[in-house]
Symmetry: C2
Subunit: 243 residues, 2 copies
């Protein structure tokens, strides 16, 4: 998880993990690609297959790689499979599965406010893109998202690109900007709907909403997105598991 800790002693498989991660950062293997077989990697890194295995096992446990028996090991992609929805924790209460559609409100270039600058490790006032959108279920707006991303990593992003893309926002980031989210931290509160948001979500002013603040990280645990979601949870819940 955290690649800090005292490197008084670093196991081989840990070094292999870092080498693989570096290849992912460098784009040697792209999301959806198969990486070389364990045997090939073992001879490339001059270690045994078992050591490569342990490194891949851990990356697979972090959902960065995906193993498929008999076929190979693949780089997780937000464009396909489970990975495309693994960051969506809002579910219908009746148990039915339904995916939301996006309705974009605005895409603007802004100066980073303190709240997102700190978490994105930027200077306050650094250039960011700010995306506002609604997530709708059955065409009814349920979530209002405000999303901040550093302009430096998303050069050339504009409103039309976002609006014309079909698929999730993370698959957009991955496909158009080569930035893949691998992990996120969320802080959740209950808040009262502001006048502005109440109109967007079509709820009474002061209606209770779930406020979900997220920081998302890409390879190497670099923070690259801050967002605040305001969710109407009368018929939906945020679902999580712990052990």
């Amino acid at each position: 998880m955290n690649s800090l800790a005292s490197p008084s002693y670093r196991p081989l498989y840990d070094q292999i993990k870092i080498l693989i991660t570096q290849s992912l950062i460098a784009g040697e293997w792209k999301p959806g690609d198969a990486i070389p077989s364990e045997i090939d990697l073992a001879s490339r890194f001059k270690v045994s297959q078992g050591t490569v295995r342990k490194a891949i096992d851990e990356l697979a446990a972090e959902n960065i790689l995906i193993r498929r028996q008999g076929k190979g090991t693949y780089v997780a992609s937000h464009t396909t499979g489970i990975s495309s929805t693994r960051f969506l924790r809002i579910n219908r209460d009746d148990g039915q599965i339904e995916y939301p559609t996006s309705q974009f409100i605005s895409v603007t270039k802004e100066k980073a406010p303190e709240i997102s600058a700190n978490l994105l490790e930027l200077r306050v006032g650094a250039s960011i893109y700010c995306i506002k959108r609604l997530l709708c279920y059955k065409n009814k707006p349920q979530i209002f998202d405000e999303i901040h991303i550093p302009a430096a990593y998303f050069k050339g992003l504009d409103e039309d690109m976002v609006k014309n893309f079909t698929g999730s926002l993370y698959s957009f980031f991955e496909t158009r900007f080569g930035i893949t989210m691998i992990r996120a931290e969320e802080h959740i509160k209950a808040v009262a709907a502001s006048h502005e948001v109440s109109k967007l979500l079509k709820v009474p002013e002061h209606h209770p909403l779930l406020q979900v603040d997220r920081v998302a990280f890409t390879y190497g645990d670099r923070p690259v997105e801050w967002r605040r979601g305001l969710c109407h949870t009368d018929r939906f819940s945020y679902v999580t598991e712990m052990s």
Copy 2:
């Protein structure tokens, strides 16, 4: 995680996991105890040390066992260490660490209502204990909990036992009834404070609260607790991570 799935083929280490879990259920090794060394278990189960290792690795990843290099492998306990707070996801916004104190309101025997009966796999009307309490930070009430547990698993529980116990509720369940929680699922919503709850939490009526519904499981993935927490989140957040 789920011990279902098609058993068309069951790896050895998986069978070892089941055998270890059965020993935990039977109480052969209790929370806090060291289990036998890998070498001992290998000879007991007639497999190699590596196979035992893989089984223990997975149980450790699920926080059911805890490895300590040079010392041994221990059964996770809610009475000590990280495990004692790993189900508490509410944290202060200012980043300071503070643990809540319990203030019990009532402990009663009830008939299970539909909502908890279904999730606890009981008949509606089955006998349960209902515990109501406040969790306080700096003596200020922040969370109101209503907790349902099957009476059959907690025979003899009464109000005095609960009130006189010092420590978390899960360490109480573990110590007094031999029931250890290993996993939980939560569904979260934003709701308005009822008149009743607003008085307990000392917030205005209709104030937004986080409603956290939980089902907790013990060894063998048996559900043994349902609870609903109502949290005042003006200075606290529910924190979670995903990957």
